[in-house]
Amino acid sequence: MVRPSRKESVHRNPQQKKRTKQKPDYLSSCSIRIRMYRVGFGDCFLLSFGDVASNGGTCSHLLIDCGVHTQGDLHTLPRILENIKQESKGFLSLVIATHAHRDHISGFDPSLNGFSGIRVSEVWLPWIENLNDPTARKLVRKRTALAEALEQHIRAAGISGPAVGIVQNALGNEAALGALRNGLNGARVRYLKAGASFLDTTEIKGLSVQILAPPTDQHFLSVMNPPVGDRFLRVGRTGKAVAANPIAPFPDHWITDQQLPEMPLKAAERKKLAKMLNSGEDLAFTLDSVLNNTSIVSLMSYQGKNLLFPGDAQYGNWKSWIATPEGESILGSLHFLKVAHHGSHNATPRSALERTSEKAFVAMISTQDTPWPSIPYEKMLAALRKKAKSVVRSDSIPVEGAERIPRDRRFAATTGFELGPFWCDYFL
């Protein structure tokens, strides 16, 4: 009796069997799906809550960041936007833009039309982007001015290296930011600071979110305040480098060619001094950290599972909350970590890793080594791999026309992961 029926069932529908892979057993107990898209150098995460096993319409969806750096773009973004629309069935309960860097928000640019057919209920931005807040407005203005001055300076002075990519990342985000500030398609916009918390967030039953950063204290603000009084160069009309905002401290009649006979300054030393002054690199690095540290750090809890999304938070941002007893318990009970700042050197403090529980959490990193070869930082990843249950890098997701990292650094598929054409899912 038993045997024939089994045989029958195998033969009855062999094609269907092949097409829809059987859902693994663990899925029935899962209620969260985290989809990491492979954009290139950037971040885009779609979170679904609810009955994730059935592929049915009972899930609520939440998008965290959507952007890619101009250098290191795999051009998957249009397909990703299409997929988001499809998966969410045109409705996102919440969009979080962690901070205003191109590699996190370029997908919101209205020219891409990615969100025109998607209804969004709420948009969250860090408080520093709130143009109605006088402090924030001042900082945004300063930041933009500095980035623009640096961009021209780098071009005029012929500077190459990491600074170029940094400045590109900070500029040209006005359209995307504008769309977000307008709530994409009329969503409610919230500007968040550390300490905010939500229960049943945006009507997703049982989802609570705690905002750990960015803070608003005086020290944080002073770090946020990059110097802008510096002299910058720009390319003049003749194509030569000229000063963009020059001050002549004294009228011309005070200027002389006569050097001190006792203390002459040789041409070589003058050249060296000019070089010391014009590198601009330090300022670019500072500007980058400043913006990264405005990242919204959100801790989500859903059905007893804790997920941490720290955006691009670097050391300064973590420091503001990690030392508290609360920070300790958060890290100790983590189930999922989005690795901050594409796995860069100081975006996952050692002290933070130490506080996590051994083999208790899964980590995902959206990263690749273009445009900055120093990101991700392999040593940090090694430490992370030791501590986490498993670690998945976005550049190990096979995407047509894109390089994959060497086999030994790819993730070993463990329970809970599924690969898509340009994404990786994690179910928990």
């Binding site: 001042k138 110097p227 002299r231 006569q258 003058r270 690095f285 050197h345």
Partner: protein, 612 residues
């Protein structure tokens, strides 16, 4: 033809400067005259130790330089303060730098030397520190050891929030008394302890900043006129943050004289701070109330340094209060008001004497302690021990309790010296080898102390600095032999032993000082250095290497006996571990390390002084 009888060489050259910075205008006697030790000057001015080079890197041009020997300038006691005349800027930078240098030379009883520049930079005038009063357009001023120069920037004041400046007005950092004193102090400390610019622990960079602030702040309290005014307008409580209004007004003041002002004595670089839109001075001597926990969680060099500054000023004001209590009591029994800008002028004068005298004492105490600090890797606790030892060496009895107050202030700020059982004066003194339970080494033979005795040394009629050099050469050999023979006792690890390294000797010229009890105190201080290459991460062959250093400062008395050994042993594994730990913390904070993870983080005054 009769020849003029020669004139006596003057001791001082009076030069006018701003007591604070141009933003205070003429109030509070903001114009003051510094009596700079006399030296012949050429255009620049270029003196023996400092040279003002007015080259503008941003605009690639030179500005006309001042000739302080011109009779028209000489007669007026230098140029009068003028913001629009670059020659006055040069004069002010020169005067304040020379004054700061003089205070160190006075306190330490010897000529100061700048950092020896590497062969690459050997210029004709390598014994001078160069000051660039208008170096570039940047809200920044910094000392740069490789160029052996201090660069002062200029910038446009904030358009929206310029404080008491005009919006967009050009602000010159070289006109801020505090900034000049601060930067010159960096250069001087770098000359005395060149290895302190290496980031070896959280205290070392903070110490550099704190020391520079301490010197700049205590200089405020030696400006008699400004102190006098402040005392009158604070009822003798010169540490208050605000000055009383000049006239009593209603609740809502209508004219400036009715408003209280911030006390310029306790703030640093007021104009700079205001021009950056900070509404206040860059830093203040008045920290938050004593908090023994702050030191454990504050690591940014300026903020951490501020803890040390606050501790010393706490002690200073306590001693001032102690010294002036009787005066105020006498005044009160007479019915004289000591409140609200009405302090009797005679009383104010007497209080002013106490305040300036105490400030000078405190500054001297701090500067002298520098010689008693270890050659590398200094910590706040060691500075405390250095202060206590140096001061009790020179001033055995301490009737006003300076040392007790200093110890108390450090204790309240949670600054704990390593290897000390308690905060008593005896426990804090540095130890000699026998105190540490080792055999006493024999006296060091052949040390030359006397710069006058041996005429053979004085081949030419050179100035004292050259004597120092000659003596250094003689003592060098004796000290090296001595160190090789007694390495262990001196806290060194001999080259042949495991973890040992070559011993390098840095002799200082002997010090002759007269204590307040009339005794002549003669000491000779030598630094012994060792270094070894270590990887930042011992388990990673690709990790960058750094120089791990150790050594000791040894203080000899006039018989060549070792009085104190202040050691940082190169063979202590904990030191190496701590240093590695600190380096990795440093790179965790640094923005550059994201893009250059394999480069070591170093202290850059340029980056650190950026906008405070």
């Amino acid at each position: 033809m009769t020849k003029d009888r020669p004139y006596t060489r003057p001791s001082f050259r009076p030069l006018a400067v701003f007591a604070f910075d141009p933003s205070l205008g003429r109030q509070l006697n903001n114009y003051m005259t510094i009596k700079v030790p006399f030296e012949a000057l050429s255009r620049g001015p270029v003196g023996r130790k400092v040279a003002v080079v007015d080259y503008d890197i941003s605009n690639n041009c030179f500005y006309h330089s001042v000739d302080l020997e011109n009779p028209l300038v000489l007669t007026g006691g230098g140029l009068s303060p003028a913001e629009s005349d670059p020659r006055f800027h040069q004069q002010m930078v020169y005067a304040v730098a020379s004054e700061t240098l003089r205070r160190f030379e006075f306190a330490l009883g010897r000529q100061m030397k700048w950092r020896t520049s590497s062969a690459r930079h050997k210029a004709r005038h390598q014994d001078k520190l160069r000051l660039f009063p208008h170096a570039f357009q940047q809200a920044n001023a910094f000392y740069e050891p490789t160029h052996r120069a201090i660069f002062f920037g200029y910038f446009a004041a904030s358009e929206s929030d310029p404080g008491s400046n005009l919006p967009g007005q050009t602000i010159f950092t070289c006109l801020s008394h505090d900034i000049i004193a601060h930067e010159v102090t960096h250069a001087i400390v770098d000359g005395v302890r060149p290895l302190y610019i290496e980031a070896t622990n959280a205290d070392t960079p903070a110490f550099h900043e704190a020391f520079a602030d301490i010197v700049a702040l205590f200089q405020h309290f030696s400006m008699r006129d400004a102190v006098f005014q402040t005392i009158r307008r604070t009822g003798g409580l010169l540490y208050r943050e605000t000055l009383d209004a000049q006239v009593a007004g209603a609740d809502s003041p209508a004219i400036t004289a009715e408003m209280s002002q911030t006390n310029p004595l306790v703030g640093l670089a007021q104009q700079f701070g205001e021009a950056m839109g900070m509404r206040a001075a860059l830093r203040s001597a008045l920290g938050t109330p004593p908090n023994s926990q702050a030191i454990q969680s504050t690591f940014e060099p300026h903020l951490r340094g501020a803890i040390l500054v606050a501790a010393l000023f706490d002690a200073y004001f306590s001693i001032y209060v102690k010294r002036s209590k009787d005066l105020l009591r006498m005044a009160r029994t007479n019915g004289t008001s000591t409140a609200f800008g009405e302090l009797d002028s005679d009383l104010a004068q007497r209080l002013c004497n106490e305040a300036t005298k105490t400030a000078n004492h405190m500054l001297n105490i701090c500067i002298r302690a520098l010689d008693y600090c270890p050659p590398v890797d200094v910590r706040f606790g060691e500075f405390l021990r250095a202060i206590i030892t140096a001061d009790s060496d020179l001033v055995p009895d301490d009737p006003w309790g300076y040392r007790a107050e200093i110890i108390k202030a450090f204790r309240l700020r949670g600054i704990v010296p390593d290897g000390v059982d308690n905060y008593s004066e005896e426990a804090l003194l540095w130890r000699s080898p026998s105190d540490m339970g080792m055999r006493s080494p024999p006296p060091c033979q052949g040390l030359q102390y006397d710069i006058l005795r041996d005429d053979a040394l004085r081949k030419t009629d050179k100035i004292a600095a050259d004597d120092d050099r000659i003596l250094g050469g003689i003592n060098f050999r004796s000290l090296w032999d001595y160190a090789m023979a007694n390495a262990r006792v001196l806290g060194l690890t001999p080259p042949k032993e495991e973890g040992g390294a070559r011993i390098q000797v840095v002799p200082h010229p002997p010090i002759h000082r007269i204590g307040p009890d009339g005794r002549l105190v003669i000491n000779l201080i030598a630094q012994f250095l060792q270094q070894r290459k270590e990887r930042l991460d011992p388990d990673d062959k690709k990790s960058p290497t750094f120089k791990f250093r150790g050594g000791s400062t040894v203080i000899f008395n006039h018989r060549g006996e070792v009085r104190y050994v202040i050691q940082k042993n190169i063979n202590r594994q904990e030191r190496l571990d701590e240093q590695r730990d600190y380096q990795s913390q440093l790179s965790a904070v640094s923005a550059a390390s994201i893009f250059k993870p394999n480069e070591l983080c170093t202290i850059s005054f340029a980056a650190m002084h950026r906008a405070g």
